[in-house]
């Protein structure tokens, strides 16, 4: 199974350091959960640090972490790629897309609500404390 968006294109956007080309389209599904995970571990972080963490996490993805491409909001033209990985010894569910203008839309970055099996068969276990 192949992802809709090439990871190399995603990495290019992140590596460009052009922050106008990256946005979090659901703050409560990405930045906030990351801050909550760190708060539970008594290592409270800022929003800027959460953003950096998310981008760093995405940067570690490989095709083995790909789960599937999904249609969002019942719009067959609105596709996003789902990934699951362990980053920083923590399990994460990740969803993003590259929009029509070439921006990286980070939709989700949070602990998995249920176990995820990647296309390479890697099992990412759910973390249910949130």
């Amino acid at each position: 199974m192949k992802s809709k968006f090439e990871l190399s294109d995603v990495f290019k956007i992140i590596d460009s350091k052009d922050e106008t080309k990256i946005y979090f389209s659901a703050f409560s599904r990405s930045v906030m959960p990351v801050m909550e995970v760190f708060q539970i571990e008594n290592k409270a972080i800022t929003q800027e640090q959460a953003k950096e963490y998310i981008l760093e996490g995405i940067r570690t993805l490989t095709p083995e972490h790909f789960v599937r491409t999904v249609i969002l909001f019942n719009d067959s033209t609105y596709l996003a790629d789902e990934y699951g990985c362990y980053f920083d010894n923590k399990p994460w569910y990740i969803k993003f897309r590259i929009d029509e203008e070439g921006n990286l839309e980070e939709v989700s970055f949070h602990p998995p609500l249920r176990d995820i099996v990647t296309s390479a068969g890697i099992v990412i276990e759910a973390r249910r404390f949130l």
Partner: protein, 137 residues
């Protein structure tokens, strides 16, 4: 295609002032934004759509909001209790220098300190009961 809300898919996204809204930040479960700060918000579900380059400013505004409240709490206590900053610091178990730093916004206190200060500002009785014990000679 225009941007969508990542939570509900709505395209009704508007720039809105987040002043008076509550956000979590570091170990603070809820910080009331006391400053103007414009972010894109979903008109349908209130989700925030935040660009990566807005994140640092968001942090700065939240820190400023905490500092504003610290300053306000200290001023309320000074006026009501007719005491000195050194006395407030001793109630909080911190040094006067540190109190000055957090009052001037040079440092952000831990939530525990902030919350204690808030309690002292809200109730005269809290101030009375939290008075440090005087050591006998």
């Amino acid at each position: 295609m225009s941007k969508r809300c990542g939570n509900c898919g709505s395209t009704k996204l508007k720039k809105k002032n987040q002043k008076t809204k509550i956000f979590s930040w570091k170990d603070y479960p809820s910080v009331i934004l006391t400053e103007d700060f414009i972010l894109t918000e979903c008109d349908d579900c209130r989700e925030l759509i935040v660009c990566a380059n807005e994140m640092r400013e968001f942090d700065d505004v939240l820190m400023l909001s905490i500092s504003n409240q610290v300053k306000e709490f200290v001023e309320v206590i000074l006026k009501r209790e007719n005491c000195t900053q050194a006395e407030i610091a001793s109630h909080l178990g911190i040094t006067e220098e540190y109190l000055c730093e957090i009052k001037q916004g040079r440092k952000i206190p831990k939530f525990q300190t902030f919350n204690f200060l808030k309690t002292l500002a809200a109730h005269h009785q809290s101030f009375v009961h939290s008075a440090p014990l005087k050591r006998s000679a």
